[in-house]
Subunit: 210 residues, 2 copies
DNA sequence: GTCTATATCTCGATAGAC
DNA sequence: GTCTATCGAGATATAGAC
């Protein structure tokens, strides 16, 4: 944790934090209720309110922490100045591996976005001011790769949209995707491993100069 | 409408239907409340319950109708046996044009997915039994294109995931995307027009045999 | 069909004992 | 720090007049 909650967490508080992530991811900021969170964390509602006076505080704390951690993971090994091929490779692999371990996180992002995205925006700015924003590195390296002829002329923002959309969909639309992607049901780990290869190959072929 | 609600709708019921789409898309199945829906439709809560006894019934009716209509739109002009290039072109253009006119629909799909996707699945099966499922045509035509050498060997399900993810993200993550895609804020129509070209070009270059 | 009024229930939040 | 008990707001849903 980086800011608001630097104190030592008790076991109960840790369980609360994890439970809140899950429930907010499934039900959203408004749909989630404190009883369900408390039950999942094996504490009472009163204890929940002891740690976080208001539900909104809990939501904001959970989102900020999870998002910052994830951006840190996603930007790992990404370096300004790397080739686009290497950047794409690292970006997709990091993102997909991270979300495979924590599939509820992309759901949490989406819920926040559907609910207006205000806290997301605030957190984004913090991440950017600390120079840990993976999307900035992605866009910068794409621009350089266009200039030096590695890839063709494309709008880097459009490209980023395609990459993120491709990586994230299996997690936010799992119940539906399971219906027309048999692989997702039979062996999820294998499907996601193939997904890494597929997205990286598809996108790189799509932009590289031959 | 195809089944459950074939009767003539009054003006009030139509307004209710539209309002419910909007509110369920933003707040989700659980977060949405009937007061907000009724207000937006300019009717009272009592009238809402006159048409749909329970909130859940309203939700299910709204989802089924909207999803079926959308699949009909998306599968327009798609024909079994078309080349993959033509299929991709039609699929992306139809989808993006439809969602540009009704940006809350992809939000409704994802809300349903986050809430378990049960009603989605039921509706999917209905659509498939009526042979109006655009995803089936997409996958079939991709398979044929692999066989006849138009495109390289790829998993059609992975490919579909990438296409849908790329097309849908701008609508479900708008508040965030607006932060790093300037074009989306300045001129949304232009951004989406460019998006069509970008996605079609990126994906086709990514799979075609040179 | 549409309304006002109200019953009933659930939720977030607090008080206060231990 | 964790609990039981409870308050009060706000939600869904219903009753019954027009």
């Amino acid at each position: 944790m980086t800011d608001s909650k630097t104190h030592k967490q008790t076991d109960a508080e840790k369980r609360l934090f994890v439970a809140a992530q899950q429930v907010f991811a499934k039900k959203g900021r408004f749909g989630a209720n404190t009883q369900e969170i408390a039950d999942l964390a094996n504490i009472t509602k009163a204890s929940l309110h002891y740690y976080y006076r208001r539900k909104e505080e809990l939501y904001a704390a959970v989102f900020r922490y999870a998002f910052k951690e994830s951006m840190l993971k996603t930007s790992e090994d990404l370096k300004l100045g790397d080739s686009f091929e290497s950047t794409l490779h690292t970006f997709c692999n990091n993102m997909l591996s991270h979300y495979e371990k924590h599939p509820h996180l992309p759901q949490l992002w989406l819920q926040e976005s559907l609910n207006g995205g205000q806290i997301w925006l605030e957190t984004c700015k913090e991440v950017e001011s600390e120079d840990r924003a993976p999307w900035r590195i992605f866009i910068e390296n794409a621009k350089s790769a266009i200039k030096n002829g590695e890839i063709k002329e494309v709008d880097p923002e459009q490209l980023l949209t395609s990459v993120v959309g491709s990586c994230v969909l299996p997690f936010v639309a799992e119940p539906i995707m399971a219906h027309f992607a048999d692989g997702l049901v039979e062996d999820k780990a294998k499907f996601l491993e193939e997904r890494k290869k597929h997205v990286i190959d598809l996108i790189y072929r799509g932009v590289k100069k031959e």
